[in-house]
């Protein structure tokens, strides 16, 4: 077990280095000139030169890479070209909102997905099952940006129940959380259903039923508990999926999170912020996977690591 954890941790290091390299290269290879961008229509060559020097854009790329790596290790992600604030400051401002949104979306997904999956599994092959499964398929097929827009149109613009966009109160969180949580709910429902079906067909459940235990007790006490193991794993991994979905959801709802910061920064060619945001999302994702991997072993005693 300890060797496994160590090995798993060691694997993370080259992955992180690779991510750093990709993040750095992506920005160097991109079209457009960040100095030009900052200077806008009003650029004079002097201004451009000033800006290039200030942001180190006039050095050869390998020097920039070296400087970048050293700085990242020291926790310095550079300075936003647009706002001239430290990138870490920008990220610290926006990331908590993304965490908030992601957690709320996960809550929605759990509250909808697991019960739906259980209901479908109890009555396999019935209309209820078909409905849940079809709903789940629609859930994963529906583009989150469209679902979000329709939700805004109906619940904010026409009914006026929720604020149109922005952040601040709990009410602001409702629609984005539902929009973002839907596809995860769908995935959880499917996963719960198949795990439940698997467990319900096991011998010990048949035994329990044969012993005359009430259906509800069997389902909730015995089956659900065991079926939840893979579901917990998926739930962990889905945090990564939610981070991905957040990029688009935040843009739709003008939610001040890391995804909107990322898209705005790409469109504005604010390279240091793009790098920082991508790096943060990737690292968060790697860490989530790592934790899930390690927890997986802790939860499920059947898994042995060699």
């Amino acid at each position: 077990m300890t060797t496994y954890i160590l090995r798993r941790l060691l694997i993370v290091i080259p992955t992180l280095l690779g991510v750093l390299l990709v993040v750095f290269l992506m920005v160097r290879l991109a079209p457009g000139d960040p100095a030009q961008l900052l200077a806008g229509e009003f650029a004079t060559p002097e201004t451009l030169a000033d800006i290039r020097e200030r942001f180190g854009l006039d050095h050869p790329w390998h020097v920039q890479l070296g400087v970048y790596l050293v700085n990242v290790v020291q926790g310095d992600l550079g300075e936003s070209v647009r706002t001239r604030r430290p990138v870490t400051y920008e990220l610290a401002n926006f990331f908590p909102n993304t965490v908030r949104l992601t957690l709320a979306a996960m809550l929605v997904a759990l509250l909808v997905g697991i019960p739906a999956g259980v209901i479908a599994a109890i009555r396999p092959g019935t209309a209820v099952d078909l409905l849940v499964m079809l709903g789940a398929l629609i859930g994963v097929s529906m583009p989150v940006f469209w679902f979000g827009l329709m939700a805004i149109l109906i619940f904010s613009v026409q009914l006026g129940w929720f604020p149109v966009a922005g952040a601040g109160t709990v009410w602001h969180l409702v629609l984005p959380a539902i929009a973002l949580g839907t596809s995860t709910a769908a995935i959880l429902a499917r996963m719960t259903r198949s795990a439940m079906l698997e467990v319900l067909s096991q011998d010990y459940i048949r035994t329990a039923r044969a012993k005359g235990l009430a259906g509800r007790v069997v389902v909730f006490k015995h089956a659900l508990r065991n079926a939840l193991i893979p579901v917990v794993t998926i739930t962990g991994l889905q945090f990564g999926g939610l981070l991905e979905g957040a990029v688009i959801t935040e843009t739709v709802f003008a939610w001040p999170g890391i995804g909107r910061l990322l898209v705005d920064s790409i469109l504005a060619r604010d390279y240091p912020v793009v790098q920082g945001a991508v790096l943060l999302i990737a690292v968060a994702f790697i860490l989530i996977n790592l934790v899930v991997d390690l927890l997986y072993g802790a939860i499920d005693p059947r898994i042995r690591y060699d």
Binding site: P31, G40, F42, E53, R54, R84, N93
Partner: protein, 514 residues
Amino acid sequence: MRLKLLAALVMVLGLSVALAQPRTLIVAQGTDPVTLDAHLAIDAPSFTVIYQVVETLFTYTPEGRIEPNLVERFSFSPDRRVLTLTLRRGITFHDGTELNSEAVRFNLERLVAPETAATFAFLLRGRVTAIETPDPLTVHLRMPEPFAPILSHLAHGSTGIQSPTAIRRLGAAYRDNPVGTGPFRFDRWQKGQFVELVRNDNYWGTRPAIERLRFLAVPEGTTRMALVETGQAHVAVRVPPHDVPRLRARPELNVVTTPSVRTIYLFFNHSKKPFDDVRVRRAINHAINKEEIVNFVLGGFGRVSDAPISPGVFGYTAIGVHAFNPSLARQLLAQAGFNAQNPLRFTLSFPTGRYLQDVRIAETIQSQLRAVGVQVELQTMEWGAYLAFTNLPRERSQFQVAMLGWGTVTGDADYGLFPLFHTTQHAPRGSNRSFYSNPRLDRILDQARVATNPQAREQLYRSAMQIIFNDAPWVFLHSEQQVTAIRREVQGVIVHPTEMLILSGASFRTGAER
């Protein structure tokens, strides 16, 4: 029972407290400000907030006049190379620092200092070479040669006078905590969401009626409109044209239109054939139906350009419009050697999301030119890439025809013409990205810079613009109109042609007035 009564009492009290609380004026802007440091700002949302907090030496009034602001009096030396400013007495910054000549020098020097890397440094760089402060209220600005538009440059928001103490003390954090002399003081900034300002009770001018201002960042037009419709905001800027009829129909809203000093145009790359041929340039000018663009794409919220600069800018005169005339366009094209067998084809480059309806304008032009047999390919790119692409030196320049907008933000024709048409200003040196050159025009623009008499300058600009009109280096499209939605309970909000809001005179109507 008693408890219930108490609860009711508390509720009533709570309510009345809530009613008595000062109301916050909420403005929904397009984006969050980028910075609140006047010297570093380049975008309208930043300047709109800064404008309330930081003041300039001179001010550019909504009527288009340049008036002294922090300055009490000013005078030019006989050779027009020294500008003497006398500051108003007794003005203090929000942090208690005194506004004096040292503070002015500190600010102007900071703007042009290379380490500041300010985009608008060019306003003063090379034009003011020495700043002297003989006494606390007097400033001498020395210029190497007379420069007529200097006062309008000192009215530009980026020459704002900010507290030297605060800048020194806060360093890089200053941009998040601006300190000026304006009618409102900075309070807090929730990044990506809103900026809040409070009234400056020690303001040297008329104290504003509004106690709190909040600027919301709402990039989506639909969302911004919904906010003002539902009363979650009082003012919403940049109303999309298609939302105007709906908003107009609501009695609780005022929809205000204000001309903007921003002119939208297409420019030809004169270093590429066949755009060196004036007949081709004129043909395209005649083939594009600008009225149709203004009426149907901008919903009427624009003004067909009759000069390279817009009304409200010093030096503007109506020169004329290349009238929509498809048969003349075909004729000119035929003279230049283009016909159905050998159609003119070119690529039109344009930015996305930068100007009001930019994509739709480009798409409309494509379809209008198809009607006279010109085949246009559309090419758009992100703003940053686009700027770099159109700013390459002549030898490496690739674009054929491109779209840009130019805001004459100083309010003086010099800024609207010299950087765009003078031969010395060819990209990337200046903003003459079409590589247009006419020695006669150059001479006139040079003269207008040093001429002292305003009437003489206006005359010079008139002849300059006539030359430009005849040479047709651009397709003159339109100047934008700003459309702002303001709730009826608010009065006194002024929209400035430079896309800023003046809020110091705003107030909430009392019930009776409504």
